[in-house]
Symmetry: D2
Subunit: 449 residues, 4 copies
């Protein structure tokens, strides 16, 4: 994470992943949210480029709200509680609720940019109070009944993971907002994105191919084959006898239950599709040939006038480091599912299913799986067999979004390294098929081993 925003001075410890205690991780992760806005102009704090994005200040308020709503308010209401915590103005519950119907009404997302108040200082002071409240809560866990303490720990971990998700969202949203400014502002001066890895020779080390899965000049195979058959998919959860290495014990509810599936033989490309390969698709009429597209995607393409990935600008692309020259061998990014699907069809291939992706990633056999770009799959986002949402508001976290979206796998250069890394290969991200503002790329798949 830190490496993508080098202009913001980071405390030394922030780069390391998962320190021993939850309390320390909490402080570090929450601190990182504040680090992310340190280099912004005050006016940037309210910037909302589109209805589905949120201003940086709102992300800081909402992640604070999560802890107040799900941990501190309940703790205050406990008869035996002795928490010294002053909650925010009750109206802030309305302002900073994102989509939890069980919590109550909320400020409409398209109007978050209009919340010039509360000012950032008030939000930061609130975050400070919440930090102190969480410290007290953690210190008091020993005195709680075990079930209650376990529930609090799970919610704290969820709050931490939630905040890390918003750290990525904050940067996606900022890129969207800055992209609408003719001045082409830069968030930082560092490497613009995953191409940094390429600049450091990543692709050479992992088998350089042409980004379309074809074998490279050196003769290395461009595809990883798998014979298919019965396999297990998903996170085993906390029940049962442990988590297979290197799997992280944390998971979101939508990653479970672990269940059996049948797979036909398949192969996945070893590399993400590159800018150069995508440019060849464009050059071959990719945006003018409806036969390559889903009907719905073609309609969207026409309506919005898509001619290239979201942030391409001539030979450059717009990034969090401002406008930069596009690197041909860097993976193409900020694609909708419709574009990824059309590219795959053009290339005579297809998108992987999420099961195919996870199988190879679980075996640590999949290069470029983490830290570069989220990778579109051909799998609609639906519940795993036996999935149950948690009761109450927290159950709205993932379960109510299981229609009209597709799964992305992996993680991206904006994801905190300890949030979506190799030990989180069961992670299911999801977006509607027309979305392009997240750091999405694609990897090809084909039938047969």
């Amino acid at each position: 994470m830190g490496s993508s925003t080098p202009s913001i001075p980071l405390p030394p410890a922030l780069g390391s992943s998962r320190p021993g205690s939850l309390g320390a991780r909490l402080r570090q992760v929450r601190r990182q949210s504040e680090v992310l806005i340190a280099g912004l102009e005050p006016e940037d704090l309210g910037l909302q480029g589109m209805a589905h994005a949120s201003p940086p200040k709102w992300h800081l308020g909402h992640t604070a709200w999560f802890f107040e709503e799900f941990l501190l308010r309940p703790a205050l209401e406990r008869p035996d509680g002795c928490l010294a915590y002053e909650p925010a103005d009750p109206r802030w519950r309305y302002l900073f609720n994102s989509y939890y119907d069980a919590v109550g009404a909320r400020h409409p997302q398209p109007q978050r940019g209009q919340l010039s108040r509360p000012p950032i200082a008030a939000v930061l002071a609130w975050r400070e109070r919440i930090g102190s409240g969480l410290d007290q809560l953690l210190a008091s866990l020993d005195e709680q009944p075990p079930a209650s303490a376990a529930s609090s720990l799970a919610l704290l971990e969820l709050g931490l993971q939630h905040e890390q998700q918003h750290q990525e969202l904050l940067q996606m949203d900022l890129l969207d907002g800055f992209s609408r400014n003719p001045l082409e502002p830069a968030y930082h001066e560092g490497p613009a994105g995953p191409e940094a890895a390429y600049e450091r020779g990543w692709s050479r080390g992992h088998g350089a191919n042409d980004g379309m899965g074809r074998q490279d000049a050196g003769g290395e195979p461009g595809w990883l084959a798998h014979p298919g058959g019965l396999a297990m998919l998903g996170h085993p959860g906390s029940s049962g006898g442990g988590t297979p290495a290197p799997l992280n014990p944390f998971h979101f509810d939508n990653e479970a239950p672990r269940h059996q599936i049948w797979l036909e033989p398949f192969a996945l490309a070893k590399q993400l599709v590159t800018n150069a390969a995508y440019a060849a698709f464009i050059g071959d009429g990719g945006y003018r040939r409806p036969e390559l597209w889903m009907s719905e995607g073609w309609a969207v393409r026409q309506q919005r006038g898509w001619q290239a990935p979201r942030y391409w600008r001539g030979a450059d692309e717009f990034t969090l480091a401002g406008r930069r020259q596009r690197q041909p061998l860097a993976p193409v990014r900020h694609l909708s599912w419709f574009e990824a699907d059309a590219f795959a069809r053009w290339a005579g291939a297809r998108l992987p299913s999420e099961a195919e992706w996870e199988l190879l990633a679980a075996a640590a056999a999949l290069p470029q799986a983490h830290g570069l770009l989220w990778q579109w799959t051909g799998s609609p986002y639906r519940p795993y067999p036996g999935f149950r949402s948690a009761p109450g508001a927290v159950g709205e976290y993932n379960g109510k979004f299981m229609s009209s979206q597709f799964v992305l796998r992996g993680g991206c250069f904006l994801s905190p390294a300890d949030h979506a890394g190799p030990e989180r290969y069961t992670y299911r991200n999801f977006f509607p098929p027309a979305s392009r503002w997240m750091a999405s790329g694609l990897r090809l798949a084909r039938d047969g081993a």
Copy 2:
């Protein structure tokens, strides 16, 4: 089919299914399209209630266009052809193309209702010419090379099935159009829908339950269990050694390839959910409780003000037979996927996957599978492993709609009996999750055998 529109006099032969020769079936099916408009007022022929529907006259023109475009025009262009067929005004290709990009530009669907010309007489005369052309084509198949003849036969069969699909669409669209008229017109005087079966005692004969899958008073089990395991899904296609009885040899491309899957143990309700059960859901706040809904569905519900299924009007419902009293034990219909999904969640159940549905239907073990209502599944509409679209314009038939839709299975009281009957259990219908104007219902499923 005939039984649903008794006010229109049908020739005796029309009720029977699949007579020996394709030519005879073609004539019967094409004749049936004309029978369907026989009782309409002339003004009804141009009625288009909404952007996604089409006027009756357009359906008759478009099904004619299909034969001209894919069979008669190519035949005219063959160097050795001697077809005596006068094509329509070239502009009709534009008017009556539905969504085939490979054929060229087309009149926008939302504006089909504005095509008061050509008048119906001109369309019917064209259909007559096409019939004669198809007769010639059939008679000449013996003289064609076998591959060419086989291709023509396949396209003729596809044209026939296509026309049957439009016969159902025509009636769905008409119901939508009539429903917008305060005079509440009736298309016919017969039974209004699938409840006709109930009036004839269907439910008693097949195990009356409460429509929520619970055991009925008589003690009969309300659920059909299946132990899961490895199973085959989809149509085997024409390749290979034959089609398992009672499967119809015809299939749409999206029903293939047949492939293996793994299923966990499950059970399906023996009966579709009834109006009475659905009324209980409403009475229990079904349309006021966001926790029962997908987030996308809840937004649609709020935006469109849904309070009940599309055609409920007080204690009545609007049908092709006009406004009729709602039958409590008849299956609830004209539901969106969002409503079906919310109901299932409320009932502590879920929607079946399409594999679960097909498995029991293939075993002839599933009551109420055909002839009543299309049944929503929880399966997004996506290609089967190894699916390939046909080359050319015909490849657009199904393959380009595989995003943001859900599969429905079975068939409905508006489907021609020989089109979506028991021998067509691999049939995959699909609609966007917010659609309500088709004859859709739902059947519950649950985990475990």
Copy 3:
């Protein structure tokens, strides 16, 4: 009127204006509405091209409704009445009310095209019954108190004038609807519009100029000057001592009261702007130069992609007689106010005020004032000083539309000759400035005599 639709056989008397008795005029005018649909295909009766237009059948129903609502229903409700009249189905009041809030709710205008029922036969039968009812009503006027009889006579005259307005609207709306059909249907085979007059040498007889008010080759002055000063504007109404010749005693409420105004010296062009002159405007970048346009008009132009008058198609234009070659010397038509205003600015002139127009028309000094095209003025449509709406629903006829519209003066080739002819020079027509589907043209004006 008849001359514009020569394919429809008219009874000989229809061309003449205002026969002696109101009853005879009523019958003739109401008959003419039916003549206007005689040549249509049945499907055309429901054709509605856009939200602001209405299908032909609706016009016939609405003009019938006017008589039922304002004359026959009140007569039925009178205690001493003995009218033998069976009103329509009460739901028709809802279907055929146009915009009278005092009457009650109404079917939304954008959905009139969806009213395939009642069928035309039922509407025509209703019209027949209404005719008989009106005959009875007229016959009974002698027995009514004078005030009541006078009120009935005024309403009958208003209903007659109202029906004539809808005869013009019906044809405007039909032109709009047909224009959306790629088959370019023709309503009739006769002269397409006002250019018929030109073909007969009109312009030669009245001083041929270049349509921009400039003097023609023959040296005739192209402008009519007026010294300005105090003048009277508007219709004197029925009160007071008579109506100045040649003024028709009938007037709509918005034409009164007659009142004094002050005018600066001005001149009006003798001729309407021609197609040739308008083509020169286009050739000079008229649709690419924002400095010629009102800001609101320029935004509309950009949004809708205007490049020429509504019905221009290459060198042709679309007319009620189908696609016809455009006549350079015919007056340009189907212009929005924004286009007319921009043209005038380009030509170094301006639009006339409605007072300027009326002053010269009242003096019978204005060529091309009637029977060709409605003529945009620069006057917003607002009440005359002292204007009062009639009480009740009839008061909604004109008075509630007095915002955001501009006045047009004269009459057009679609207007019945006895409805908007020279004796009706106080007539105020009005449309929003972006409307283009009516038969509108423009005449230039300039300051100074």
Copy 4:
């Protein structure tokens, strides 16, 4: 001005009007723009509540742009120029152009809130440079040819007046933006609006009536009568022999030419309509009775759900001083023209014409004409006879907005005192009839003296 924002410390001189030299006035006025944002939070600088409003920072940038574009850039381009001025980044011309097509393309108004950059510091530094440039320009006027110097002086005065208009707009827009925040922020702590005058006894001093023009208890007449007749309207302009006292020699182009008109006898209410009177209108069903409304206004009312003036909240209203109790005797404000027009109809009166208003204001006979609220008239905003726009971009200032708007007269409590005071009685403000975010009120008129 100062009195409305007492929380912001003002330099002593700012309250006084028009000091001797233009240079001093320029500095004062430009300084005042910066004073207006002094108390805001940084996030407020980018707040844009709706598409037609602009963020405070944008107002400061745009008023700077005006001077750069129309004075400093031309001066830099003069061959003999020796101006030491560094213009802004050329892209700022695009960012800060409001609507001048002749200047070139511009950033879309609805997206001004997305311009988090340039930061305020950069804008203020630019303003500083511009101030220095303007000082140089003023100092060099003596050396310019008289015509050029006069043109520069006129543009400087226009720039000053323009900036004053934006000072009012900034506050209107801020009120709109703050009104959308559930925290109900306050811009300042002072009197909330024109009611301050009432609190100080204004109404007693000027004849207290009930705000509907009726005579008050004390017997004072509530109406000011005028016999009508020929009169002069508009500003005489700089040509000719002077300006009638107390008329300010400055005027916008749309206030000229001065011209003669004829008026019927009329009377205007001495007082603006009060909150109490408006509450009576609401209580009498004002928002439920379509017969009181223009048809267009009624449609807007239904669509937007209007039930009261824009900022009424229960018994309070939202103001720049936050939520405050509504004062019954204060003039009702933030009304659309449609609401003003409906109220007048309900009261048995009408809106004044702009001529009626100006006639009495010119005679200094009209109480409450200035400093409280802009006053809707019944006059559409159209050019005076003989009006000509200035050539070039400056000609777009007023002239291109002369359709679909109504004139407001007077000035309001947000207008700088030396900008729209009694000596500016020919001032023509204008807004579309559905706008409500400006400080608008109404005064009744009636026919007859």
